[in-house]
Amino acid sequence: MRVTRRQAFGLGLGATALILAGPATLPAVAKKAETADDAVKAFTGGAEAKSGKISLTTPEIAENGNTVPVAFEVESPMTAEDHVQEVLVLADGNPRPGVATFHFSELSGEAAASTRIRLAKTQNVVVVAKMSNGSYYMDKRLVKVTIGGCGG
């Protein structure tokens, strides 16, 4: 995984703390090669993750499966009373679905980040946001990884 300098600057504005992928730094839930569903359940403690609030940007078809740009933004006033606490990013078709967990606080200003991830094959990128009131939101987008070579 690689975060370019400028993206790192961009992230710095939005996220006070950022823990990047590496399965070792992920929450315990993702350490074993569990399914994405298991990881989501562990993250939400079984609570329902609603749709909405998250805008997730991925390419429809990956130009290079080894470095697929992924960006998200969670709608939130980001105040002490109402803010995004954590955002879990998963790739549900990778051997290890866990990608990253981003931590935010009311000092973050906005709950947005972008990074690049490796996708082994066509799959969903899943994003789950934990809000300060204990609710969860989820969004996912299909990213196609093609063999390529016969278009045009």
Binding site: T4, R6, Q7, E60, E63, I147, C150, G152
Partner: protein
């Protein structure tokens, strides 16, 4: 049936392809025209204050050509049965076109050979110049001339001159902006070299620096025409790094980037644009979807999928205009813009009948000048064809059958694959196959004809992958090419199924046996996107084959069984 001379001079009940909203209504207007003459073709009920002139996907065709439209062009999901996924008699019926008429010849594949003999070649940059000059003469201060891209690639001379021929001729026609696709297959350095000197805008709002995710080319150009501020936003082919060799432009990222398009539209409006035009190389279905999702686009001038439609497809308040390919057509859209809103429009898809529209002398001279150094090679006769040679269609075309036959024979393989390109001109039975004609179907910067071993499973995976690029029910996942053409192997395809289960009954034709996923087969092909692909250029392989055969005959290809239509 009229011969060409009669066609030129006799009263024909139809004149021009003249459209207004709603399928079927344009024919009545066209029928009012009595003569098929240049004046009739150019006649237009001028309106409003802005005129858009659109050409796209010329594929470096400087001279008039034959180009047969597809007989199979399937749509899936929500667009099933909708234009442009209507062909043959259904198309004629939908647009109320008389079989055998000039419009039927221009827009359909039915009775193609007979009609081609009657109505002759279409296109030619010098004829396009005549139409353009005529529009500009009438609407000097109102006209924008926009090129949808795929302009620089597709001929022997464009390959030899690295697009200098097309750039020189297009520059002489003074476009106001263009967008791109195959342009990038000359490599990023050549593109930059040309764009640096281009006397008009090279737009691509979806072209980004792959490292920094910053815009790599201008997105929008603002014009003032007829007192109206017109924003033209460029949208290059979204899947260049997937469908074409990424190593030729390694630092660029493309993509549909719908959010970016919306941002650019909003910005254009904020900057005072009263009309927003998307000059797009998305492909028709992608643009139709985008028209329904991005707010504030008045006109999408679509390209890439080579569709020619005599009427706009209207999505909400957006006109989607499809202007064909290879210089066969030129679109004119007149807009009446009042108070920042389009109050009315007139549209005409002008067919460039090369025997009816007089060539513009200066452009003819320029075209002849850029071709002069190559005339001898261009006219070299390799052999003759007994059959109609064409490419367009979802599953096969006789030109690709010929290419696959040549690959199997010359590269000694079991199976051959030819990419589902949509460019390439048509040759009539009895005509000579010249170097020029062969290059019209093969000209590119990565022509190596490879020969490799593939397992049955891999061949299946490739077919599934390409089929999903064409038949994914979500247009944003489509790449806009046709199905890869396969020689030496038959298969069944259910276009309605999801990826992984569309292709079945893969059969090795020479033995009649089913393809074994575990067995290895020798496969030849061309136009691999992988860097360092080895092999002779495809045009040399096919030329050798044609020279041996002297006359080629292609029988109808029945090796692909299509279901789920």
């Amino acid at each position: 049936m009229l011969n060409r001379r009669e066609f030129l001079h006799a009263a024909v009940a139809t004149g021009a392809i003249l459209g207004t909203a709603g399928a079927g209504s344009w024919r009545a207007l066209a029928a009012q025209q009595a003569l098929m003459s240049q004046d009739d073709l150019l006649k237009f009920p001028t309106m409003g204050n802005v005129t858009l002139v659109h050409v796209t996907d010329i594929h470096a065709q400087l001279k008039p050509i034959y180009f047969r439209e597809p007989s199979t062009n399937l749509g899936v999901g929500e667009v099933k049965g909708l234009p442009p996924h209507v062909t043959g008699k259904d198309f004629l019926k939908l647009y109320n076109i008389k079989p055998g008429s000039p419009e039927a010849y221009a827009l359909c594949s039915d009775d193609y050979i007979a009609l081609a003999n009657n109505y002759g070649r279409m296109g030619g940059m010098d004829r396009i110049a005549t139409v353009l000059n005529s529009i500009r003469a009438e609407r000097a201060d109102n006209t924008l001339f926009l090129d949808g891209g795929d302009t620089w690639q597709g001929s022997y001379t464009s390959y030899k001159t690295k697009a200098a021929d097309m750039v020189e001729v297009m520059n002489s026609l003074k476009p106001d902006a263009m967008t791109s696709h195959w342009e990038f297959t000359y490599g990023i350095d050549r593109v930059k070299e040309i764009v640096d000197d281009l006397p008009f805008a090279f737009l691509g709002g979806n072209i980004f620096d792959a490292e920094w995710e910053e815009p790599a080319f201008e997105a929008t150009k603002m014009f003032e025409r007829g007192g109206v501020k017109v924003a033209v936003i460029g949208q290059a082919f979204p899947y260049l790094p997937v469908a074409n060799p990424r190593w030729m432009f390694p630092n660029l990222s493309f993509g549909i980037r719908e959010e970016q398009v919306q941002k650019n539209v909003d910005q254009a409006r904020a900057d005072g644009a009263q009309v927003v035009v998307l000059l797009s190389h998305n492909g028709f279905d992608v643009d139709r979807k985008m028209a329904g999702r991005v707010k504030g686009i008045d006109v999408i001038l679509t390209g890439h999928t080579h569709d020619a439609l005599p009427e706009p497809v209207i999505v909400g308040k957006t006109l989607v205009i499809a202007s064909g390919s290879h210089g066969k057509f030129l679109s004119r859209v007149d807009l009446d813009v009042q108070g920042g809103e389009v109050k009315g429009y007139k549209y005409k898809l002008i067919p460039i009948f090369s025997d009816v529209i007089a060539p513009d002398k200066a452009t003819t001279e320029l075209v002849d000048k850029v071709r002069a150094p190559y005339e001898e090679e261009l006219n070299t006769v390799l052999g003759k064809t007994d059959s109609l040679l064409y490419r367009r269609g979802n599953f096969n075309g006789t030109f690709d059958d010929l290419i696959c036959d040549a690959l199997i024979s010359e590269r000694e393989s079991d199976i051959a694959m030819s990419p589902g390109f949509r460019w390439g001109t048509t040759l009539l039975p009895g005509q000579d196959i010249t170097t020029e004609i062969l290059h019209n179907a093969t000209s590119m910067t990565y022509p190596a004809a490879y020969r490799s071993e593939m397992s049955g499973k891999m061949i299946h995976d490739i077919l599934e992958d390409v089929a999903d690029n064409l038949f994914n029910p979500d247009p944003y996942y489509q790449q806009g090419g046709d199905m890869v053409r396969v020689g030496g192997m038959g298969y069944k395809i259910d276009v309605g199924k999801p990826i992984g289960s569309r292709i079945s009954e893969m059969t090795l034709l020479k033995t009649g046996e089913l393809i074994d996923p575990a067995k290895t087969y020798v496969v030849s092909g061309w136009a691999s996107v992988n860097e360092g692909t080895k092999g002779p250029a495809i045009w040399d392989v096919v030329a050798d084959y044609i020279k041996e055969k002297k006359t080629v005959s292609l029988t109808p290809n029945t090796s692909v069984k299509v279901e789920g239509i």
